[in-house]
Amino acid sequence: MPDIRPHRLDQAEIDKNFADLHPPLKRSEALIEADRCYFCFDAPCTQVCPTGIDIPAFIQKIRSDNIRGSARTILEENIMGGMCARVCPTEVLCEEACVRNTHEDKPVEIGLLQRYATDPVIAAGTQLFARAPASGKRVAVVGAGPAGLSCAHRLAMLGHEVKVFNRDPKRGGLNEYGIAAYKTVDDFAQREIEYILGIGGIEVEDGVALGKDFSLAALRDAYDAVFLGLGLALVNDLNIDNEDLPGVENAIDYIAKLRQADDKSSLPVGRNVVVIGGGMTAIDIAVQSKRLGAENVHIVYRRGPDDMSASEFEQQLAKTSGVAVHHWLHPKAVHGVGHVEFVEFDKNGQPVTMEADVVFKAIGQRMADRELAGELQGIDLEYGKIVVDDQQATSLPGVWAGGDCVTGGEDLTVSAVEHGKVAALAIDRYLGGDNG
């Protein structure tokens, strides 16, 4: 039998391994770091931020000890500024653009500063935005992930009534179910959502799924506009032999299980874990497996390091966490009797095998396009995703979409938040608003 069991590490070690990856800055640290910001003209960091946060402005406010003002600057562009401060790949976004890289090869720690500014208002529940007078309009939002909640919040701000339809028992989508535990400790995802809903005017119904419990057609009838933030509900298959052998799991499912576990030491952990994929999910599952006590963890990717969609920082994190990363190996088959025992790869025509008692598939997710074909009638799809214009409008009048389920997305929380915001502004104008 393969060696899969819980309690490989004791509770103290688990707690240490799943502590905050980037501990928050103390006030003195934040002031010194804020002082490093040059307050650039037309700042390059802001230019590359998908939500367009005025980064020098919020840092200037940290510098002058105006933390609430700083949080307002962040949250008015990105209501999930708290989560994005934790999960954004800043090393390829704002911090890569920071001119300090040219000056001294060390950017301003924008992510940590953003967390410093936003944590207090979320902890205190300080609402920074008031709702506009009631418009009398009602908007349905399908999905309670970053796109859906961002859209809902902005719509509420603009005076509309919003109803959010959430498939899962808990709210937040990938914020709740998909992010590595050490990136969002202390139930932050739920605390942030409570804060977002605190603005009022947003009703959430949990555990209801499109196509099962309600239809798009019904929503279009009952509401003045609809926003689809469906996410990518299904995991891509490897399409290799014995893929359904016990021990072969979806990384996404295990990450969700890990996030929801009250006692992480009770989770079963393999001795030899093989992760197939090259994105953030692959890194997350590999690092978390290692931190749960797996002895040997391998990430296997079919192409080279530069092709991996995981950022360099993430790849480094895997390596420093003791994960072995292999490139240019194509998965061919899973082997084992009654349970996976090893995985076979092809390397330039040569077979390579790797011992494994657990195999995680992390080669991307897909929208349930085929499963929802009936529901999505009239909406143009491309490569299995929803086609939208630059205002997030779908081809179906009165229906907008955003987040991972639309084409051209970057599969980032911050992009989803921007989609939701842009869609909300477009919906508001469609409903007669004048948000400009």
């Binding site: 010194i32 002082d35 003209f41 037309d42 040219t102």
Partner: protein, 423 residues
């Protein structure tokens, strides 16, 4: 290695760095430590009249202006002159001078405006063997309310009167320490000279309130809820001091007065500023109070290296070097043109030069060239104001460069737009 040995009014010291009259020089214990660390001299904290000692507040005496990393940029105090008995101080001064004969030991004095007080006290102080007296006409708080310190220093006639009384009783050199809390430093300096002063030292502290306490909305700091202005010093006051030193050094009436330079000296470059603008030696307080006496090592070593680099063998060769370059605005050559040049290799593209020029000056720096983020000077618009150089975070990235032309030098006194021009 250059020789840092200093001779100020015949008072010799191994280097030109004296500790200024202030808390670091209030006791033999501190002065001993300073001399062990290598300080060239010390001006003993101001002595007052014999009798019941001065009383200080028992709350905060000091407060600071900080940068975000809490570096002290400016410093404020409401401490009075020494609060120890006169006899104790005199005894300790005598002992220190005996133990450290090669160091300069000057005693700061503050006495009431009557001749008898000076006639009584000056001989007592001289008897300690001290090298000179420094008259404190600058303390801006507390003592000035009692008709001494800045109350004297702000009235040239009083300066002259008290200096004369002191000189009459003294056989050692007398240095008059000037307050910057005046609109023009020249009349006080001239009054000191006319009273017979052998030298002036400047500046004393600048009247100041540091800030407000944002919780209580009272001034900060307070003693039992109330506060009072203090004296401001530290790096932030250096430019004020340098101007006053240079004014005295370049004005015919006062240019022969030896100057002991004081005001924000923190590293050796600050000392070079004072010396080049006319001071013969310098006094330091705040930097020592912020970092301890050990900074003397950087001060002496840095000055020494600098003199070597300049091919100078003694401090005196540096003294006054920059004075001839200081003049009145009206004598500046209005035909001399400089323009900013941005080194594109060094530019990190922060755009600070562009936005300050665009918003507050002459719209002379681009932000985009051929669709690319690029900051270039538009020569036709650039007036050479130096704002971009001042705000650029990269050293030497933006420089001012002279634009040669055939124009003859022309200053305001002869400028055609000047209705009062000399013909």
């Amino acid at each position: 290695m250059a020789d840092l040995k200093s001779d100020f009014l015949g008072i010799t010291s191994p280097n030109p760095f004296w500790l200024a009259s202030a808390p670091p020089t209030d006791k033999a214990y501190n002065v001993n430590r300073a001399f062990e660390a290598g300080w060239g001299g010390a001006v003993w904290k101001t002595l007052g009249e014999a009798g019941p000692p001065i009383v200080n507040v028992s709350g905060p005496r000091y407060s600071a202006l900080h940068s975000n990393e809490r570096r002290v940029i400016g410093f404020n105090n409401i401490e009075l002159i020494t609060d120890r008995p006169l006899e104790t101080n005199l005894e300790e001064i005598r002992q220190i001078k005996r133990d450290w004969p090669d160091r300069a030991l000057v005693v700061s004095v503050m006495l009431p405006m009557n001749e008898k007080a000076w006639a009584d006290h000056v001989p007592m102080i001289e008897d300690t063997g001290a090298d000179a007296l420094e008259l404190n006409f600058g303390c801006p708080h507390g003592m000035s309310e009692r008709g001494m310190g800045a109350a004297v220093g702000q009235v040239p006639e009083y300066i002259q009167m008290a200096t004369e009384w002191c000189k009459k009783a003294a056989s050692v050199p007398v240095i008059v320490k000037l307050t910057p809390n005046v609109t023009n430093i020249l009349p006080p300096a001239k009054a000191a000279k006319d009273g017979g002063a052998d030298a002036v030292s400047l500046i004393n502290t600048v009247n100041s309130i540091m800030h407000v306490n944002y919780d209580t909305l009272t001034m900060y700091p307070t003693t039992d809820g109330m506060g009072t202005h203090g004296g401001y010093c530290g790096e932030a006051v250096k430019p004020i001091a340098l101007n006053m030193v240079a004014e005295i050094a370049r004005t015919a009436d006062t240019s022969d007065l030896p100057i002991s330079g004081i005001g924000g000296i923190t590293d050796w470059r600050d000392a070079v500023d004072f010396l080049a603008l006319g001071a013969s030696n310098v006094q330091v307080c705040t930097a020592a109070m912020v970092y301890g006496f050990k900074i003397i090592d950087d001060l002496t070593d840095g000055l020494n290296t600098f003199l070597d680099d300049k091919g100078m063998t003694a401090v005196d060769e540096l003294v006054g070097k920059a004075v001839p370059s200081v003049t009145d605005w009206q004598y500046l050559n209005l035909n001399y043109v400089e323009k900013a040049v941005i080194d594109q290799e060094l530019c990190i593209k922060c755009g600070r030069c562009h936005i300050v020029c665009e918003d507050t000056s002459h719209q002379a720096i681009t932000h985009t060239v051929n669709g690319e983020r690029k900051f270039e000077v538009i020569d036709e618009e650039c007036v050479g104001c130096n704002l971009c150089v001042s705000v650029c975070p990269v050293d030497s990235c933006i420089t001012m460069q002279h634009v040669p032309d055939d124009e003859q030098p022309l200053d305001w006194t002869r400028h055609p737009n000047n209705p009062m021009r000399k013909t």
